[in-house]
């Protein structure tokens, strides 16, 4: 069992989320440490995405606390926009800004929010595009790109803000099978560079081989939360076992 003794980056305490009468998340408690790569797996409708979206308050928790770098981001006086700058997010549907080309997509936030100057931002964008093999597409608009290309750009767009943690919400679920590999490769590279990552995924191989820890979320609560190899090699709960039987 690999121990990760990095600094605690995110701490979730007694997180509850209800949509009307429907309880989606019930008393979630967990921590994420610096440099950790954590996968969140589980059946559809189990609350994985909702949980991830609670971490940067795209969904507002019904109750509970989320500490990011020691600050309770759910507190009324905390400025969520400030925290979100440090939390990159990658979506299933990519969500590149359709009205901007690749370069604008990447530089809008650092220029407007961080006050970076244009040349500096563009140089940084080119460097990141180079890393994902898309430097030649800097002038393209989203509709001119394939799904895999869009997602790789969505990842580097988030990286432009120098986030301390990256949240991935099923980043490969909307991709054609032959494009999944290119996106996973970028994510693996990111993981090996030491980025803290929280990944909601259906890619069991990624969870098992790349992430250091895996959380099995089922019916709104954490059923198991362990180092990935342990979780996959010796699942304890019958629910996890039946889930793994179905997906592996």
């Amino acid at each position: 069992m690999e121990e990760n003794n990095g600094r605690v980056l995110l701490e979730v305490r007694h997180l509850h989320k209800c949509f009307g009468k429907l309880t989606v998340l019930e008393d979630i408690n967990t921590t994420f440490r610096k440099n950790e790569v954590v996968s969140i797996i589980g059946p559809s409708g189990g609350g994985k995405s909702t949980f991830l979206r609670c971490l940067n308050l795209l969904e507002v928790p019904t109750s509970g606390e989320i500490f990011f770098d020691g600050v309770d981001i759910c507190a009324a006086k905390s400025d969520i926009n400030l925290h979100r700058q440090k939390m990159g997010m990658v979506f299933q549907q990519f969500n590149l800004f359709n009205n901007m080309n690749v370069m604008k997509n990447m530089t809008a936030a650092p220029i407007r929010i961080l006050g970076m100057d244009k040349e500096q931002a563009e140089a940084k964008a080119m460097e990141l595009l180079e890393r994902v093999d898309l430097a030649d597409r800097y002038a393209a608009y989203p509709h001119q790109l394939s799904g895999g290309q869009k997602q790789r750009i969505a990842i580097v767009r988030a990286l432009m803000m120098n986030p301390t943690v990256m949240l991935f919400d099923e980043p490969t679920s909307a991709l054609d099978p032959e494009m999944i590999g290119e996106v996973l490769d970028v994510m693996k590279q990111l993981a090996s560079d030491g980025m803290t990552m929280i990944v909601v995924t259906h890619e069991m191989r990624f969870a098992r081989e790349v992430s250091s820890r895996t959380i099995f979320l089922e019916s709104g609560h954490i059923e198991e939360d362990k180092p990935s190899h342990e979780l996959f090699d010796s699942p304890e709960s019958p629910r996890l076992r039946s889930f793994l039987d179905k997906v592996l």
């Binding site: 940067n56 926009n81 979100r84 990159g88 549907q93 800004f97 009205n99 509709h143």
Partner: protein, 230 residues
């Protein structure tokens, strides 16, 4: 009907038609302008998180869209004065009160339609766009102005163009409160010549030229906003 007669009518009564076109364009331009300004405001109210504003806007929009323009217009010019509300006359602008009533009624009507066009145009932008912007740390207002509105304009413009065209056509109704627009002037020429067919044909062609031209102008603007799409 004869071509000669038609040409004769155009020649002899061109000042009538030109005068009518002028009035029609004045009414339509003001109505579209005011309708768009107040329609934008109304759409903002309609989408507001402040409940009373939202309810007020919804009632207004539903009511205006659910009643005939003819009723709204005559109510404004013939109805309201009976309650002591009149549009003032200004000596140096002839028929000022008529024009005001016409423009107010037309723009109040158009405002409701424009509000719905704008609202649906904004709501048609994928929610993921807003979420992505917010997740990068943009404030709601920044996300609106940089990401959502530029995309919404693409949805709004074609429908707004249709609305402009509709206003030009519908404005012919102001002839019933005595505004000397194209329709009114056409009736004048009919009264003088007894040639209904030719006169109405001329009017129809003029209306068509007006709407077709503005339709093309809108299409031209649309193409400029295509973000690399053909």
């Amino acid at each position: 009907m004869s071509l000669e007669k038609t040409i004769l009518i155009i020649n002899r009564y061109s000042s009538f038609f030109l005068d009518g076109i002028k009035s029609t364009l004045i009414i339509a331009a003001f109505s579209v302008l005011l309708g768009t300004v107040f329609g934008t405001l109304m759409a903002t109210m309609r989408m507001s998180r402040i409940k009373p504003l939202k309810i007020l806007a919804t009632i207004y929009i539903e009511f205006v869209r659910g009643t005939p323009l003819m009723v709204q217009l005559t109510f404004m010019f013939y109805g309201l004065p009976m309650a002591g509300i009149t549009f003032p006359d200004i000596s140096f602008i002839p028929n000022f009160s008529r024009y005001t009533a016409g423009i107010v009624a037309m723009s109040m009507n158009s405002c409701a339609y424009v509000a719905e066009i704008i609202r649906s145009g904004i709501q048609a932008v994928d929610v993921g766009q807003m979420e992505a912007a917010r997740s990068l740390g943009f404030r709601h207002s920044q996300a609106m102005s940089m990401v959502i509105l530029p995309q919404a304009v693409r949805n709004i413009l074609p429908a707004l163009g249709n609305e402009f065209v509709t206003v030009i056509k519908e404005s012919s109704i102001v002839s019933v409160i005595g505004i000397a627009d194209l329709m009114f002037r056409t009736n004048d020429v009919i009264a003088l010549t007894y040639r209904s067919l030719e006169c109405l044909l001329v009017a129809a062609v003029i209306y068509f030229i007006l709407t077709f031209t503005s339709g093309r102008l809108v299409a031209l603007t649309e193409r400029k906003l295509s973000y690399g799409r053909k």
